[in-house]
Symmetry: C2
Subunit: 224 residues, 2 copies
Amino acid sequence: MGVVKSKRMPRAVREQQMLDAAVEIFGQRGYMAASMDEIAELAGVSKPLVYLYLNSKEDLFTACIRREAAALTEAVRTGVRTDLAADRQLWDGLLAFFTHTSHHPHGWSVLHLQARIHGEAFAAEVTAMREEIVAFVTHLIVVAAREAHRDPDLPEREVAGLAEALVGAAESLAAWANATAGVTARQSAATLMNFAWAGLGNMMEGRPWTLQDTSSDTAPLQVS
Amino acid sequence: MGVVKSKRMPRAVREQQMLDAAVEIFGQRGYMAASMDEIAELAGVSKPLVYLYLNSKEDLFTACIRREAAALTEAVRTGVRTDLAADRQLWDGLLAFFTHTSHHPHGWSVLHLQARIHGEAFAAEVTAMREEIVAFVTHLIVVAAREAHRDPDLPEREVAGLAEALVGAAESLAAWANATAGVTARQSAATLMNFAWAGLGNMMEGRPWTLQDTSSDTAPLQVS
């Protein structure tokens, strides 16, 4: 047992080192410009060993996407305590998301930028992660609506649309925050919480935004 | 004059027909799977003529991205009347955006999906359009803050973050709406307006979301 373990451990450890190096280089240089030489050098291993373990640049990149996607969804899930109030869950989830993306800017670049611009196969890997996060946010919104102590007047489709909007906003804000010096994860989470929560709260209580039409040339609008 | 015009017109018209066909095929099949044969056939011209006019599949795709990006930003700009109230401007802008993306689903697919997943050069074309839209939304938020009749307590960085969040939310919602049967442009605009406006309004009036911390194991949070 001990022998098997000591034989396996170095490979697992080395593989993680290769993935660490690959995420950094892919995130910094972009997928096309990243060289396997540079990745091997940063990982402190030979290039043939990288190919032996990860097979090809494509497979290495796919492994990076999968690892970073799993780490991000795990960070968000563990950041949220489902016994707390819905707005607290959303706040904790956003804070966990922006903390993770700001601590792992190369990982986020791999997921949000690189994985999307280098072909359909890589993009599909990210789509799977995104769907999981959207499902998680959808659930949060449903819980929040239930907590509003009335028959929640939010049709399923409206909730799905809100979850898409919130996830899209978070993705966009994370990319901007990482590219802008001095923006903290806490500030990003607060921006989005301020932006999103009041509107969500109003909708759940049946108070949608209504158009105060002060111009004389248009009929009053029903927005929903 | 008349002779020159009649010589030029057919080329301009034919080019637009080629671009119409190309956007439809690229949007439906994806960039890789799209064939120049199919595009030429749909445009009702010969394949050599497509190459004569647009040079290559790459150049044709770039031309599609540029045309669709210009059409989308133009639709949003002309949808907004800058003499109206800020919330009305935001509503009109969102409605124009979702109306355009729902009427041109293949164009939106080219911009939002295809242009992003097939290399850095195409992605850069879309980034330019996105920056223009973010600048436009940033301006709207600044105007809205000014309208709130008080020294607007929104730092420039906060406004930039809000604009990124709003644009990301709109992009994400448009992609979802086009993939979901029966969602109208008006519904999408209402979803996002409800989502965003209350939060923006609260912030501009100095009433950010605050955490009501009901758990005993954590210190009160200052979120911004």
